[in-house]
């Protein structure tokens, strides 16, 4: 229900206080105040801590994998353990780390502030979804402790119905996790629709909000299908319902359809929020109006939509009909177009900007480079005849690490460094941030470029043991992984240092025009001490800062008090 009627609002300038005494981190104290909080910022931080833990676990498992692969034959893991390790690495990295990373952690923290809202629409639901996530992880950890899983993160039947490992608990865990993802999506959609500050029209939404919107739509539409798929798999194991199990008359390829109907859109759950972060970072550090606002905003929605129709590109060799393969291949290519539009728009934003290569911007550029490589190799995999050769080889492994690690994780790191001052009110060491960014960049390429080559040469994935010809590539790759590990250790320490005795951050250290920088660092308990009023877009760098710091003073329920000093009278659209 948008009303276009302009309403006269009396607004006042609110210059954010520097280094406030009371902010969301210390307005309440004690463990319980965290565990029972409904503040979206605190929930965001709790997610951030959880995903950091899971990234650590997943990363250590990756190093274990890489170490085993140093030499062809068995060195310190046996085949069973190796299979469990890559399954857990994949499942943890995807379901426990990357899917909730930007939406649930960064998104929760930043989305309401960017909208000028006090909180998400359903704060208690938000907390509930964090606890659902926790319960899901507990299930999974129990599954790991009591006998692991060795199906690969894809749980293909019939292997997953036959193997003796703990598939049941693990799938239940992920099933539960799905609800957390769904609830976050529901919450975000409603928040974006209903909770925008006065004047925050659709055309003034920060692009990060647009991508979270697109992501939430995917989460809401795709995750239920994962839920039903996993439930059917659980039933397949518990009761032998036979829908997917060929031994009982079922069809294993149908399982793959079901699985990828979620899991392909899920890869866009994993990248689209990253696009949002990158848009913010590039515009801020180029101090320039974003190029092609609507193109970037709408291409997220286009990706979300087309992304639903391409799942079968994971099944070109699986025995689906040639007709279906053709359709899927065709649609797969269409996803590349809106993605390319984004890339080019970002480049155009940098053109004639005033570029400051601070750590977030550095990560954004690493993102651009690595994600483009990942995307191009995705195009290669989408080409039918080439995919027949490359399917299930290390080429695919390299592709998805380039898009997930090189793409989304870099975007996450860009966002983390970008919003860090807003989160904790502290700065980090710029020097160490650059060192660790460089190490991660070098290590990453060393780890995954050789994988493209060995994949194209025919090295199959999920191989614990390989023929000697591939050894040099594997050794390079392992070295790269270690270098990355060093990079992350450095990051861990300088971030820790920043938390403990970092320099105090200003409210707007980057000179951004976006709304979240117009409040204090760390943010106030209810985000703003006033109801912000938005008259300019978040990328209007040509307008003076003072015009971005407007608001209505108000009591707890928004009814305005008489402003003491009336500085500006602005015309804006009313609250939708």
């Amino acid at each position: 229900m948008e009303t276009s009627a302009l309403k006269r609002l009396q607004v006042q300038r609110f210059k954010p206080e520097e280094n406030p005494e009371i902010h969301y981190l210390n307005s309440e104290r004690g463990l319980w105040s965290w565990l029972s909080t409904v503040d979206h910022k605190r929930i965001g931080l709790m997610y951030l801590a959880s995903i950091a833990i899971f990234f650590f676990i997943g990363g250590v498992l990756a190093l274990v994998l890489r170490t085993e692969l140093l030499s062809p034959a068995q060195s310190f893991l046996d085949a069973d353990v190796y299979n469990q390790v890559f399954t857990l690495h994949g499942a943890i990295m995807i379901f426990f780390f990357l899917v909730p990373s930007v939406p649930a952690a960064l998104g929760n923290f930043i989305l309401p502030i960017q909208l000028g809202a006090k909180d998400v629409a359903f704060p208690r639901l938000n907390l509930a979804s964090f606890y659902i996530y926790t319960i899901g992880t507990v299930f999974t950890l129990v599954a790991i402790i009591t006998g692991a899983v060795d199906t690969g993160w894809t749980f293909y039947t019939p292997y997953s119905t036959e193997t003796g490992t703990n598939v049941l608990l693990m799938t239940l865990g992920i099933f539960i996790l799905g609800f957390s993802s769904i609830l976050t999506g529901v919450n975000f959609i409603v928040t974006i629709h209903k909770m925008r500050a006065p004047g925050m029209t659709w055309s003034k939404l920060p692009l990060n909000v647009w991508s979270l919107y697109a992501t939430s739509i995917i989460q809401v539409l795709a995750t239920p299908v994962l839920a039903i798929t996993l439930l059917l798999l659980v039933m397949e194991r518990a009761l032998g319902i036979g829908i997917f199990d060929p031994a009982l008359g079922g069809d294993p390829v149908l399982f793959q359809h079901f699985f990828w109907f979620y899991s392909h859109p899920a890869v866009y759950i994993m990248i689209v929020p990253g696009f949002g972060v990158i848009s913010e970072v590039i515009s801020t550090f180029s101090r320039k109006h974003i190029f092609g606002y609507w193109a970037i905003a709408l291409s997220s929605l286009a990706i979300a939509f087309i992304g639903f129709l391409v799942w079968g590109h994971h099944m070109f060799t699986a025995g689906q009909s040639s007709l279906a393969s053709m359709v899927f291949s065709f649609l797969t290519f269409l996803v590349g177009i809106p993605t390319g539009i984004k890339i080019f728009n970002w480049l155009a934003t940098m053109y004639k900007g005033s570029i400051d290569l601070k750590a977030p911007m550095l990560y954004a550029m690493v993102f651009l480079f690595l994600f483009t490589i990942g995307g191009f190799t995705g195009i290669m995999l989408g080409a039918l005849s080439v995919d027949i050769h490359l399917h299930d080889t290390y080429f695919v492994v390299a592709h998805f690490h380039y898009v997930m690690m090189g793409g989304m994780v870099m975007a996450l790191l860009a966002g983390l460094h970008y919003w860090w001052p807003k989160m904790f009110g502290k700065m980090y060491s710029e020097v160490y941030a650059r060192i660790s960014c460089a190490l991660i960049f070098i290590g990453f390429n060393l780890a995954f470029l050789p994988q493209f080559v060995m994949g194209a040469q025919g090295m199959p994935r999920r191989y614990f043991n390989y023929i000697d010809q591939f050894q040099p590539f594997h050794q390079l790759s392992t070295m790269g992984a270690y270098i990355m590990g060093v990079g992350f250790v450095i990051m861990f320490f300088y971030l820790l240092h920043s938390l403990v005795r970092g320099e105090k951050a200003a409210s707007n250290p980057w000179g951004s025009r976006a709304l979240e920088w117009q409040t204090t660092s760390p943010a106030a308990p209810h985000n703003f001490e006033h109801t912000p009023v938005v008259i300019h877009g978040p990328y209007d760098y040509h307008k003076p800062m003072s015009e971005f710091q407007l608001g209505i003073a108000h009591g707890h329920h928004g009814e305005s008090h008489q402003p003491e000093t009336l500085e500006t009278v602005a015309e804006t659209g009313t609250r939708p």
């Binding site: 085949a79 069973d80 299979n83 060795d150 690969g152 293909y156 019939p158 292997y159 036959e162 060929p246 008359g249 079922g250 294993p252 101090r287 320039k288 109006h289 974003i290 190029f291 606002y293 193109a295 699986a318 025995g319 291949s329 065709f330 290519f333 269409l334 177009i337 390319g340 539009i341 480049l347 155009a348 940098m350 053109y351 004639k352 570029i355 400051d356 651009l368 483009t372 490589i373 191009f376 195009i379 290669m380 989408g382 080409a383 039918l384 005849s385 080439v386 027949i388 050769h389 299930d392 080559v453 194209a456 040469q457 025919g458 199959p460 999920r462 191989y463 043991n465 000179g511 760098y541």
Partner: protein
């Protein structure tokens, strides 16, 4: 260019390989050009437009329709070329020439069985005639496997409940490796076989003699050969190390504890049963994963294997 090809791709030994490689190189080249352009722009812009002072102002450029159309339409055209090319290549892979020589393939955890028209069976070694289309009709005994010959650029999943097929025409004689590329459990990475392309006459020759037992061999020698030929050593070692199955070393007349707690002596009957009905008695600590060799090994061959196992200690 050829050097690059050689570095990136395995040797192209089948008729369709050239087509796949052509498209691969095309995408690679286009991507490389675009990537260089993008990287150049990133580096150039961040050098040229480096922030000089905090007071920098920037022009307001919000969009440019011509540019935006260009960078949507040009990639669209490129990907459509890629789509068409890939699709025709794929259709060539799927349309089996009518005169193709057919071989039946069975995937089992974790070995490949090849059945030829004259009843010859080979395990983990596929023999095909070169310069003649060969069609493999494949099925699986248990979980999904995937049949992959990198040198021929062919791959197809092998399903338990229906037949899938793959065809190729080898352009030269020689050996290539076959992988299983669908994750199928513990010894997935050991599910490796070889394909040997022979000239037509060599192939006929091989087919006629493959399953004929070499009378000059002693039973022990024959047993040793059979064990190698039937893929037993994917799971059983002769040096005492534990693989998927128990080692043969010292097993003869040893006491075996079974899953249900009972104890048996490894005698000829037990060995015979273990080969024909492996899941009848499961050794403690092992999984019931050994495929049955019923119909693959004759009585005489089983005797020979037993003779051979006796000698390993």
């Amino acid at each position: 260019m050829d050097k690059v090809l050689e570095f990136l791709l395995p040797p192209a030994k089948s008729t369709i390989a050239g087509q796949v490689d052509g498209l691969f190189i095309f995408i690679l080249a286009v991507s490389a050009v675009l990537l260089v352009g993008i990287s150049f722009a990133i580096i150039y812009f961040s050098w040229k437009y480096k922030r000089r002072s905090e007071q920098d102002t920037t022009p307001v450029i919000t969009h440019n329709t011509k540019l935006e159309v260009a960078w949507s339409v040009i990639p669209l055209i490129l990907v459509m070329i890629v789509f068409g090319w890939g699709f025709t290549g794929y259709m060539n892979m799927r349309t089996v020439p009518t005169d193709a020589y057919e071989i039946r393939v069975v995937g089992k955890s974790w070995l490949w069985e090849f059945h030829y028209e004259n009843g010859t069976v080979s395990v983990n070694e596929l023999h095909v005639p070169a310069n003649r289309p060969v069609n493999l009709v494949m099925s699986s005994n248990d979980v999904i496997h995937s049949f992959y010959i990198p040198d021929y650029r062919v791959k197809r999943d092998v399903l338990p409940n229906r037949y899938s097929n793959v065809w190729f025409e080898a352009m030269e004689t020689g050996e290539s490796v076959i992988f299983c590329t669908e994750y199928c459990g513990r010894a997935h990475s050991n599910m490796i076989a070889t394909v040997t392309a022979h000239s037509e006459s060599d192939f006929e020759n091989w087919l006629a003699t493959a399953n004929v037992i070499d009378e000059s061999l002693s039973p022990v020698e024959l047993g040793k050969e059979l064990i190698a030929k039937n893929g037993c050593n994917a799971c059983h070692s002769v040096d005492g190390s534990r693989m998927v199955g128990p080692s043969y070393k010292g097993s003869w007349m040893a006491e075996r504890e079974l899953e249900d707690g009972s104890v048996v002596t490894v005698d000829a009957n037990y060995l015979r049963e273990s080969i024909l009905e492996p899941n009848a008695k499961i050794g403690a600590g092992y999984d019931p994963v050994m495929p049955s060799y019923q119909g693959l090994l004759s009585d005489r061959e089983i005797d020979a294997i037993i003779e051979y196992i006796k000698t390993i200690d």
